[in-house]
Subunit: 304 residues, 2 copies
C-alpha cells in the first residue's frame, strides 16, 4: 500500500527565499490527505502536478495564518473546477466560522459537500478511521490551541501460505479467519493454526505531524515509535530562549525528541525566515539523531 508524504511548504511565519508556508500531502493507498494549508498551497499543488480532486481529507493544526490561509482559496477553486465529491475537513472549531464568513460574503454555495469535524485541542482522540488508516489528533503546546496528527496504517491481513494450506487440506471457510491472524476450528473439530498457515502481515507504518510546539514533552507519548516524524525546528539551538518565548522548538530539540520517542526517521520543518541556508539546522539535529532530513518542497518521503 502506498504510504508517502510530499512536502508543499515548510517555512514558518512568512514565506522566504522561495520557500512556502506549511502544507504537505500524505498519499495513503492513493487517497490524499492534506495537512495544513498555508497561503499558496493550491499553487504548490499545481507546481507538483498533484490534482486537488484527489484530496479526500484536510487537516488544519491551528489558526496561525501560515498554516491555513490557503484553505479558503483551495476549497473555492475545487468548487470552481467542478468538484462533486465530498471533502472532509478537520480543524479547530473556530475554522468553521472563518470559512462560513468567506463563503457568505463571496456569495458562494459550494457544489460539493464540505463536511467539517471540529477537533478539540485538549486531549488525544481518534478523529478518523477508514479502511486504510486511523488518524488521531493530539495536543501540542503552542501560543494558541494547536494539535498534531498521527496516521497509523490499519493492521493488514496475513498472507495465506498456499502450499501449507494445501498440505493440511484447510477448508475454504477457514481462510478469512486465518488471514486475520486467528486460528480456525473446522466443523469436525480440527484446529488450523494461523501461525503455521500464513505469512505474518507487514508491520503497520505510522506518520506523525507536529506543526508548531514548545518542546514540553506533553505530546511525546502520542508520537511514540512512528516510522516518520515531521517536527518543527524553527530555530538553531543558540536561539533556544527565543524558541521558548515563541512556543517553538530548536533543531537540536527536535533531534532529541525523535531519539527519545524512538522514531525511525525525522523530517525537520517550519524554518525561520532568518535562515537562508538550512544545513546548520540539519547538522544540529543529526548530531543527536542521524536519520534526520530537511522537509524540502517537492520532495516525497516514503513512510517505511
Amino acid at each position: 500500500m502506498t504510504f508517502e508524504l510530499t512536502i508543499l511548504g515548510s517555512n514558518s511565519a512568512t514565506p522566504a527565499y522561495g520557500r512556502n508556508q506549511t502544507s504537505q500531502v500524505l498519499n495513503i493507498n492513493e487517497k490524499l490527505y492534506l495537512i495544513d494549508c498555508g497561503e499558496g498551497t493550491q499553487l504548490q499543488l499545481m507546481k507538483y502536478n498533484i490534482k486537488s480532486s484527489r484530496i479526500k481529507y484536510i487537516f488544519i493544526s491551528h489558526l496561525h495564518g501560515d498554516h491555513y490561509l490557503g484553505l479558503v482559496g483551495l476549497i473555492s477553486s475545487m468548487h470552481l473546477i467542478g468538484r462533486k465529491e465530498e471533502l472532509t475537513l478537520f480543524g479547530p472549531p473556530e475554522l468553521k466560522e472563518i470559512i462560513d464568513i468567506h463563503l457568505l460574503h463571496s456569495d458562494t454555495r459550494l457544489r460539493y459537500p464540505l463536511i467539517f469535524h471540529p477537533v478539540q485541542p485538549s486531549q488525544e482522540q481518534v478523529i478518523l478511521e477508514n479502511d486504510d488508516v486511523i488518524v488521531r489528533s493530539f495536543p501540542l503546546d503552542h501560543r494558541i490551541p494547536c494539535t498534531g496528527f498521527r496516521f497509523d496504517e490499519r493492521a493488514r491481513l496475513a498472507k495465506i501460505n498456499i502450499e501449507a494450506v494445501k498440505a493440511q487440506g484447510v477448508p475454504t471457510e477457514c481462510l478469512p479467519v486465518l488471514k486475520q491472524g486467528m486460528d480456525c476450528v473446522s466443523d469436525d473439530g480440527k484446529v488450523y493454526k494461523s501461525a503455521e498457515l500464513t505469512y505474518p502481515p507487514p508491520l503497520t507504518r505510522s506518520y506523525a505531524f507536529c506543526s508548531d510546539t514548545l518542546d514540553s514533552g506533553s505530546y511525546h507519548d502520542s508520537i511514540k515509535g512512528v516510522n516518520l516524524l515531521y517536527h518543527e525546528a524553527t530555530f538553531l539551538n543558540d536561539l533556544l530562549l527565543r524558541a521558548v518565548e515563541t512556543y517553538h522548538t530548536t533543531a537540536l530539540q527536535a533531534g532529541v525528541i525523535a531519539k527519545n520517542v524512538l522514531a525511525k526517521k525525522l523530517l525537520l520543518g517550519h524554518f525561520s525566515a532568518r535562515y537562508r541556508n538550512l544545513e546548520p539546522l540539519l547538522n544540529e539535529s543529526k548530531s543527536v539523531f542521524q536519520n534526520s532530513f530537511l522537509a524540502m518542497e517537492g520532495v516525497t518521503f516514503p513512510v517505511e
Copy 2:
C-alpha cells in the same frame, strides 16, 4: 513624478499556467498603492523585489476570493517583519469583519495602525485625496457588490519662467500665486499675469481599474479619458453569453469600451483559466482598439 503600474497577477477565478490571481501595484511619486490582493500576492511582491513596507494604501474591489484572499497573509506578514507605519485599507464594508475574525482567532494584535475605510459600492465617490493623487471609487456591475478605482494625479504647479519674472521685476510674494495659475496683484496695484510668467504645468495623468464587471455602460462616465485603463477581459467574444451570465466582459467589449471612453491605452486582464495562450484575447481587443496590451505579471506600465 513617477506614475506607473506593475502587474502582480491577472488570472481570474483560479490560478493557471503559473499565472496568479488579481493584484497590481501603482507607484505614485514613490508611494505604493496596492490594488486587489489575490492569494499569493506577498509571494509575488517578493518575486519582483517590491518591499511591502513601501505600500501605504490597499484597495480591494470586491469579496470574491481571487481578489482578496492574499490580504490577511500580507497584513500578517507586515506585522511579523516589524512594520510600524500606518496602513490604510479601502474595501467593501464586510471586509473588516473578515480581517477581524482572522486576527481574533490567530490571537494577533497588529503592531501598526491599520485604518479601514469602507467603500460604499452604490455610487461614485472620492475616497482619498493626498498631495499626489485623488482616488475615486465607482460602481461596477458584478454578481456581488464591486467597485472600480480611478486615480487622478493632482494638478501640478506651473513652472516659473525665470527670465520673464526678472524682466518684469515680479515681487517674490507673487511667485506662489503665479505657480497656481492665478494672476497676482502687488501692493502698488500692478497685475502680474500667470499666463505670461509661467510655463503651463504638465497635463495630469490618470489610471482606472475595472476588476470584474458586465459591460453595462453604467461606469463608463467614471473612466472617461484616462491615460491607462485596466479592464477585465475574461473571455473571447465567442463566449459573450457566458460573459453576460457570469457578469464578465469579453476582450472585444473591453476594446470597444476603451475606444468609447477615449482611453489612451488599454490593459487587458482577468484571463479565464481556459486560455493558455492569451494572444487571441489581445488580437480581439486590438481589432477595435490598437493600443491594447496584456497585463502580464512582472511588467511595469508607465501611466503617460
